[in-house]
Subunit: 205 residues, 2 copies
DNA sequence: TATTTTTTAGTACATTTGTACTATATAATA
DNA sequence: TATTATATAGTACAAATGTACTAAAAAATA
């Protein structure tokens, strides 16, 4: 990608993340980069183009990490690793999740892609849960849809925990451990004695 | 409250909920009500005034329900009732949670109030958990901060599950059972045998 | 009824925003 | 070097938006 084109993306990401997508106009970005508005529209004709590219950049990066996980061994530890990486990218592209409904409303291609992504994540989660059950680290389902609902909650927590953090300025820096804990403690009560041992070791409790 | 003033609030709520707060201008509301822009600004001088009033309307209503819960007996059933009522109001005023970061960013009084509200909800939740433990319906904490983290997840799920639902048009109508399930299934694995029996009866499984 | 207050309509205006257009400069290429 | 393609600056403009202001209408009150 051209240098200028990349700089615009970087500035966009930075500004979207800090000011919120609704407070960033094309001029905000061109002023920030000290380039003319004409130059900006030359590279990105419509304002949606910028955050659409950023969104798909995000998707590309998490998909790559997910691919690596699927090809490796899928135990509790490497799953924890994957989740940590997801959190990293969710934080990096946090404007997507902070201004989620605005973005979804204005861009059907993003909406469609996100919908598919959620399904992929769900099936990976449920597959991983099944493997953990086979490995006797997790107990089988006790009530119908138990793990589907668990996924749904974890999906919401993963994608929108940043909204809760806007409140206490925690948003300004990334706290790996905190987010990982938030996620994995949700798994804890479903673990077997064996699984709990692994868990405690993993989180050094 | 004056009739016109109330109508403006109702129209605002309706339009914010369906179009998103960023797509609703003062003129959108005055056009909707077929009144002049001047009339609107006469009742609400600044645009923030409208959704600020709506936010505090929401807070007043959930606080009233919460007060009733605290004065009654605090078992699993009435707690389930309270949560259902919370969901009702979260849905009614859903624009607050769909455009959360926009609202928080523009109105410090809302931010401050929400922060306090979250703390109140947390202490109610933890108190209720303690009572359920005393009633032998819930098991004691196994790892440090277990129930605090559980609260945090439930708080995020409660306030932002609608964001996940924008995707599949589920947002267009309220589904009580679904949301209640989403919330209470999170409690299930922490319940004792006694608690699980109550739970299954409550949700008619 | 006369007067005052409240409500409403209509208009005006500065600002912001997205985007198109033109001209110039820079880089690439023949 | 001459020509062509790409990149940049600068400007223009319509639409939208928040909000102020004025005058008229309606309601309340004396």
């Amino acid at each position: 990608m051209k240098k200028r084109k990349k700089h615009i993306l970087e500035a966009g990401l930075e500004l979207y993340n800090t000011l919120g997508i609704t407070n960033v106009s094309q001029r905000t970005i061109s002023d920030f980069l000290k380039i003319s508005p004409g130059n900006l529209t030359y590279h990105y004709k419509k304002k949606e183009d910028i955050y659409r590219v950023l969104y798909f950049e995000f998707v590309g990066q998490v998909q790559e990490k997910t691919r690596l996980f699927l090809n490796g061994k899928r135990d509790l530890k490497s799953f924890a690793n994957l989740i940590e990486e997801w959190f990293f990218y969710i934080y990096k592209y946090r404007f997507i999740f902070l201004d989620f409904s605005t973005i979804i409303r204005t861009d059907p291609t993003i909406k469609e892609n996100y919908l598919a992504l959620v399904e992929v994540r769900k099936s990976i989660f449920l597959k991983t849960v099944n493997e953990l059950i086979n490995q006797k680290s997790m107990r089988p389902q006790e009530v119908p849809h138990e793990y589907e609902l668990l996924y749904k909650r974890l999906h919401i927590v993963s994608d929108f925990f940043l909204n809760a953090n806007v409140m206490d300025r925690k948003i300004e820096k990334l706290n790996h451990t905190e987010h990982k804990e938030l996620f994995f403690y949700a798994l804890f009560p479903y673990l077997t004695t064996k699984g709990k041992k692994e868990f405690l070791k993993l989180f050094a409790l």
